[in-house]
Amino acid sequence: MSKAMFKMTTAFADVMPAEYVELVQSGPFGQGYGVADLGSFKELIEEHPLCAGCGLALAVRLIMASLPTPEDTVVVGSTGCSSLAFPQIALQNIHSLFGNQNAVASGLKRALKLRFPDKHKDVLVVAGDGATADIGLDMVMHSWSRGEKLATIMLDNEAYANTGGQESGMSPEGCVLYMAPTGKKFKKIALPEIARESGCAYVASVTPVQPRKLEKAVRRAILVAREVGPTYVQIFVPCPTNFKFKPQETLAKAKQREKDQTYPLREFITPEAQAYLAALEGGGKHD
């Protein structure tokens, strides 16, 4: 996808949908916008069918505003709440079998590399905790072990939210959910540590409480995945619908978990990724 594609043929300008015209005239393509610019440009996501107060929707909005080059980004999603939002996003997107996202992304990334050898085509995997840590864990881990140059983002709402709120491997121990009426019996899967040990060059866990921190993690993940190797970002996205709190409490819930260390924020960077980021960030274009 090149920036040239986002130009309109003058003769058709008057029949193009208003949203499209807006996207061409004031969208983020080729602009280098970030979360600090939110509110001053046409965002990639305009509307979505997710619940009021959905932490995942907020995270998706922030991720979309954090892409270094949205015009060269393809998102691979998976089944779950996020898959309901992706059709509303002005980016190219592949949705496949539940849990197979990192395998699909591996094929896509390799094909894009071959077709566009001189360009960075960012393949961004955005999936939920069930897709990433449960049903898709084999394909996620093997994409890391193979060193696939993908950025994998988990939107962690700690449950199967789209099917009504069952436990997932990422639900905290003791958490009462459907199919766990007396509380979950085993610990939250330590995926950031697994990612680090499986070959990820950059790993971070963040929450939407600090948008700039989230932006930094997403950008670093995408940039490191271009040159160094696989990367993983885990974003805590509280779910008011299934955890039965008010929509206005979403950020407070995330803040509380940050504060009491039950959702520890971390960042692992390999020396190679560190050197690469230092060279890039020294240039000062992003961050």
Partner: protein, 354 residues
């Protein structure tokens, strides 16, 4: 429990399994069957059974394989895309001759499709779905009482034939509420599970559960043994229900939820004096060829109604074998036919046969 209780389809199926002695359930979330594993997660601990939410459908079906290997009564449930994931395991269960009950609360497909009711999994259920020459016993309830009774029957049949049994419902049956009674059905004489891998202390002979037979003559012999078993199922287990078929000119063939809707159409057409009947297969495999072909000389035409693009109609055509016209009416993708649609289709077919 013998009084009638009002229950949701998914929960009634789960309770029926408990009543049938099922103590192991391995599940995974997928709409529209979540209430079934959710009920099991609450109920299994009360009867000292095991409920486990697996990390995927593939894991769940292989947990079933393991528990069945120990000789336990075991169940799993899912909905169409999840059943597709379980197909490999189902083929292995059939190959290794392990009894298990699998519930498919069918939704629209292909792919992730929709979450509304559909019968698009008929081919997958009765023609294989997984690889190899195997058959499942496929039971298709049309109401919740029948679903409850068929669950008990399913466990017995699975143990009797050492074969996986599939209960084919749909989103409508799974989500609806009806009064049900958990009644004691006449129990069958079931063979002891001397084949189970429970350790040499219990069965001093060498028990091996396996579906790999590398030498060709050996595998052919195993497949012939399976075919002989399927022939016995075909002989003894065909089941169907008929309504107003004795003097019918046109017989509607429909199963599951669609048959209920077709029944409403038949009743209203009968009131208008039209000679229409309903033939409802209860076993989809073995397909009730014997009772259906008995109808052939008496009727002028058949109308198959399904919530798919035309799947069971192929088996109806095979049974009718060209002796009468077989028409088809179907809705797809989660769309449910109305009695009026079926009635007008019937009238159209009747117009043609007169």
């Amino acid at each position: 429990m013998s009084e009638r209780v009002l229950m949701k389809g998914n929960e009634a199926i789960a309770e029926a399994a408990i009543q049938a002695g099922c103590r192991f359930f391995f599940g995974y979330p997928i709409t529209p069957q979540n209430e079934l594993p959710e009920y099991m997660s609450r109920r299994m601990p009360q009867v000292e059974g095991t409920f486990l939410q697996a990390e995927s459908e593939v894991a769940a079906i292989n947990m079933v394989y393991g528990a069945a290997g120990a000789g336990a009564r075991v169940m799993t449930s899912s909905s169409s895309p999840g059943i597709s994931l379980k197909q490999e395991g189902i083929s292995y269960l059939a190959g290794a001759e392990l009894p298990a009950v699998i519930v498919n609360i069918v939704r629209g497909g292909p792919g992730l499709g929709s979450i509304q009711p559909s019968q698009g999994a008929y081919f997958q259920a009765v023609k294989g779905g997984g690889h190899g020459d195997y058959r499942l016993l496929v039971l298709a309830p049309a109401n919740l009482q029948e679903a409850v009774d068929l669950v008990t029957e399913a466990f017995d049949l699975a143990d009797l034939y050492r074969n996986p049994v599939l209960i084919l419902g749909d989103g409508l049956l799974g989500q609806m509420m009806e009064p049900v009674e958990f009644r004691k059905l006449p129990s069958r004489e079931l063979p002891p599970k001397t084949w189970a891998t429970t350790g040499m202390r219990h069965h001093p002979h060498k028990n091996i559960i396996n579906s790999l037979v590398l030498d060709a003559p050996g595998l052919e012999k195993h497949i012939l043994h399976l075919q002989e078993k399927y022939a016995r199922m075909n002989l003894h287990e065909q089941r169907a229900k008929s309504l107003h078929c004795a003097d019918a000119e046109v017989v509607i063939v429909a199963y599951g939820s669609t048959a209920r809707i077709a029944k409403t159409a038949v009743m209203s057409l009968r009131q208008s004096g039209l000679k229409v009947g309903l033939f409802r297969p209860v076993t989809l495999w073995p397909f009730p060829v014997n009772t259906l072909s008995e109808l052939v000389p008496k009727v002028k035409a058949f109308l198959t109604v399904e919530m798919n693009a035309g799947q069971m109609v192929e088996d109806v055509k095979l049974a009718v074998n060209g002796a009468r016209p077989v028409h088809f009416y179907g809705r797809m993708g989660g769309m449910v036919p109305t009695p009026e649609e079926i009635s007008s289709e019937c009238v159209r077919v009747l117009g043609g046969v007169r």
